[in-house]
Symmetry: C2
Subunit: 543 residues, 2 copies
Amino acid sequence: MRRYCFILAGLLCVNYLLWADVYQAYRERWLQKAEEAIPQLHETRLRPVRLVRSVADSVAYQGWRMEAIPGLDVFYHTALKRGDVYILDFGRHMTGYYSFKLSLLDRAQDAPVRIKFTFAEMPIELNTPFDPYPGGLGRAWLQDEVITLPYIGEEVTIGRRLSCRYVKVEVLGDSPGFSFAMSDMSFRALSSAPAYVEELSETTPEIIRAIHRVGVETLRECMQTVYEDGPKRDQRLWIGDLYLESIANAESFRQFDLTKRCLYLLAALAAEDGQLHANVFEKPTPHPQYGTVCQDYSLLYNVALLEYLKDTGDRETALDLWPVVVNQIRLAMTYIDDTQLYNPQKNTPLWLFFDWRAGLDTYTPMQGLLVFALNKSYELAKLLGKEAEVKEWPALARRIKKAVRERLYDKKAGYFVSGADRQVSYLSQVWMVLSGVLSADEGKKALRRVMAMPEAVYPGTPYAYHYLVETMIQCGMEAEARQLLIDYWGSMVRKGADTFWEAYDPKDDLLSPYGFAPINSYCHAWSCTPIYFIRRYPEIFQR
Amino acid sequence: MRRYCFILAGLLCVNYLLWADVYQAYRERWLQKAEEAIPQLHETRLRPVRLVRSVADSVAYQGWRMEAIPGLDVFYHTALKRGDVYILDFGRHMTGYYSFKLSLLDRAQDAPVRIKFTFAEMPIELNTPFDPYPGGLGRAWLQDEVITLPYIGEEVTIGRRLSCRYVKVEVLGDSPGFSFAMSDMSFRALSSAPAYVEELSETTPEIIRAIHRVGVETLRECMQTVYEDGPKRDQRLWIGDLYLESIANAESFRQFDLTKRCLYLLAALAAEDGQLHANVFEKPTPHPQYGTVCQDYSLLYNVALLEYLKDTGDRETALDLWPVVVNQIRLAMTYIDDTQLYNPQKNTPLWLFFDWRAGLDTYTPMQGLLVFALNKSYELAKLLGKEAEVKEWPALARRIKKAVRERLYDKKAGYFVSGADRQVSYLSQVWMVLSGVLSADEGKKALRRVMAMPEAVYPGTPYAYHYLVETMIQCGMEAEARQLLIDYWGSMVRKGADTFWEAYDPKDDLLSPYGFAPINSYCHAWSCTPIYFIRRYPEIFQR
């Protein structure tokens, strides 16, 4: 009998380890702290600045450019008839709520009115049929709304939050019995970013100043009640975006309440085993995207918290969230196999994101990111006086670095390879530098070699380019870093970007991680980091 | 100088006559009385009773029938995926507001959901593409709504009032990231009719009882805060519908507040010269359809008021609205020319409706309706002790009757003709009987001859058939009247009508006065009058 009791106790214990909620004692308070830090949204009421039309143009980005046409002044008094199409340009990217008012021009409304609105960040969204929808994400992200109004005359606000610069108006239903016009329209643009960011000096080259301006707009638009990844599509808090947004914010708006809120929100909504979810939603009530866990993102949370502490000195928050940091390392370590490397198959396979570049092998980048996170997490431990708790971390990092060097470094070629096919990618070198596996000199050589190889896998998103620029700076490649920023983000500016795009390959304007370019986010958080570079390293970028 | 003063005074006088508001002293009070009489709307919450599918069937009305399919019980738990289509049958015609609720089946909502709803009175509305729209009335009357929901879980109510029996659900946007179901849907059906109407005795033939039931449903659905013509399309108070609805109501629901409200509302919104508008709107604030004046409708207002007085004994209202009666006659008399007939060209041409039958010549029907209105208005005068005010009316009626008989009666053929082409129509005979120009015997002969002529213009709507049945009863053609009711309204019942249709020609299922059958109203006030006949003349119809 006693023996069975032991077995039962053992089972309960295992059960507890497997199923206990490691943050049970903290969650409620964390969520409360997250709610208390909700920043105020600043409102700006905007109206269209011109009428435009779409012009097919093979030289223009994605094949379309917008051309101003006269008539905005008379538009508000022009009878709208079925089949009429107008495109209104608000002159800037906006995130918020769209309102319009229809007014009677003559007689009495004797039928409902039906209007289709299409809200577009980019011309392509106005010139590509949405249906049949070929994309891989939810069709309903596309911003077309059909409104039927039994009674005109009152201002109507479309319920869903929108992101756009352009509004296309298509009249689907009128009546021979009366005439009406769209007598007003406006957009209530929202952001939790303060209005002001210091402009760059006029001595800074115009292209840098332009990149800075677009970066500021990008970040401002993504700063809502969380750091959103894209205000048009996804509209939620992802850890990877949080990290880059928060370091860009620290160099610009310095709206640290938002960072604090996001750190607490992610913690409060982590899985019961302690692992952070890759993203969380605020509405209808805060909840994670269950089952979406991304190993690289989980670890970058630790780095984001470290940077937050360094920027703000807010030890209370950092100490509060310290258990999250410890758990992300603990859980990642369950994937270390006998070779001392992160083995994605060792435990439940987790998503390793790193970039949207199709075919990227993430094996080697993951080793580097893990070491980078160990280093940064230990730096945080030291700042918080927690080294004793995690005294094994430096040794863990050393063991991985040693193993990585032995197993993944092509010494002869002078660069790192990844996976069974020995893939050569920019990101493998990047993470080996950021982790300290490669020295600055070795990193410079590795990067120069790889970047000279046409077959090397280059980044597919501004997210991945961010780490590349950071790496170049660390390797003393200041001129190259500056040129890369100008070439990559600058070419978006030259192609007409109001805000920086989620996915961008200068060689492929129609690149989409989701099989349909209009569903791409064209104002994307992770693309805003030129602000960070330009403002943090003025000696490199502002000259 | 003095001479100019006279001229000026003369001009001012003419101006006063042309422009003075003849109801200025009454309007405010009339409108207030109309508002005070707004009836309460009774609510019924309905849910679908079965899933159905559309089956093309050349024998079925308009080519489609609905077939029940199993699965309603599991529908509420079935994951909805893009491309899915379901048709829900609520089992009866409803007017009101549709609500639904989407619920998460698994994971977290990571994209908005997009659903198209099509609300249909009839199967044809679910099986005919609405666009490109070929109809002659506003496209937006068609009841398709596209809803994008960023957050599911709450009950959503579509803002516009709808009329339907069937709801088609088409899933336009889902997401690979989660599953959802439509966990609830309901319809808040509204009517100002009391719930109860006495059923017919079981000894009454089933077809008559079925016609009665469908008539009751038709009237109930059209009884909102005014007598509407069609709750799906038009949704407003027309005088012609008011007249027929109010006499049907008097025989059934006896909700006389509604009649009173409508009589006052039409009066309060009449034109400044005293002429009633053919129809008025309640929202956003009460107003007429400016410029839409229909001579036959204006005159039928007088008849409706007379019947209201006879049914209720409400002398106060009848006396209050007496000036409107006088003005309708006065204004119509301005069209009498030297031949003593109503000449549509004598003054501003007004719409003469009578029926939607294409090509109907309204000249002769108009003479008859004018005499009918004169007779009924004089009957009203007598009930109110106002004969002295209008003592010329009987003589006017006699003069028209004499002229009509001399000029429009084909004595040899024994029927009336109309217009330059001497058109032979049912309605010419009808209005000559109702006016008393033809005696019962003459009317019977005329009708029998005309109805035996294949080329005679027969009615195109239940509205016109109403007057035909009434005429037959007056002519002692009880058996024919009964048979016509069974043949005409009964054939709608046999073709599956839940409510009686706006336009119906047994020979042309796709008849539409607006060039597109789906825009027809399939629950139309003026078609409800079998209730009136069956209940008022039980000896003819209930045996």
